[in-house]
């Protein structure tokens, strides 16, 4: 069966510091991978998605970036965090060729102080 991991679970970072959140998927090959953010009281906002190694599509211009160095690894980064980057970050995967059901990881609660 497939499993998705995210870490860390919680993170408190000062403004201006860098960020690296990691997501890995087990039990499937060539998944589509996604990064979402849920701000307080808001819905899920798609940040990035990837259909293969090195292929990243950005949905929202911001100071975040994403990379996919390996087939089942997806990384969300920032060089300098802003207060507005606080939120709940979720990684998700879906089957290659099937762009419908997405399966989410446990999430990372990021607080920028």
């Amino acid at each position: 069966s497939q499993t998705i991991h995210q870490w860390p679970a919680t993170l408190v970072q000062p403004v201006g510091s860098p960020l690296s959140l990691e997501c890995t998927v087990e039990g499937t090959s060539n998944p589509n991978l996604y990064w979402y953010r849920q701000a307080a009281g808001r819905g899920l906002q798609l940040l990035f998605y990837s259909v293969g190694i090195g292929q990243i599509s950005s949905e929202v211009p911001q100071n975040l970036s994403a990379s996919r160095p390996q087939d089942r690894q997806f990384i969300l980064s920032s060089k300098k965090l802003l207060l507005s980057d606080s939120g709940f970050y979720l990684c998700a995967w879906s089957l290659d060729g099937g762009f419908y059901e997405q399966y989410f990881g446990p999430g990372t609660r990021l607080t920028v102080t």
């Binding site: 899920l44 998605y49 998700a92 059901e101 399966y103």
Partner: protein, 110 residues
Amino acid sequence: DQQVKQNSPSLSVQEGRISILNCDYTNSMFDYFLWYKKYPAEGPTFLISISSIKDKNEDGRFTVFLNKSAKHLSLHIVPSQPGDSAVYFCAASETQKLVFGQGTRLTINP
């Protein structure tokens, strides 16, 4: 421009009764619709989905209805149980992406 809208931020239902969660969309190109359930501090879990070629899909206590002419879908939960208390998101598929609504917080009262 919000393409998927859940106009009720919250809903309170008595245990054993029916819960009806609603969702509206504007993009007629959406061809697949999904409902997710989310507990606090956890990732959303997939509940049920429906293709645009159908108007109803049922899975146990959960039924999703799609009215394409009205661009409206709803999730029915019967009977409602305390464990159903969560935030429910509807989502619509557009090529490789899902577009989510803002969510509805469902509270089941004993």
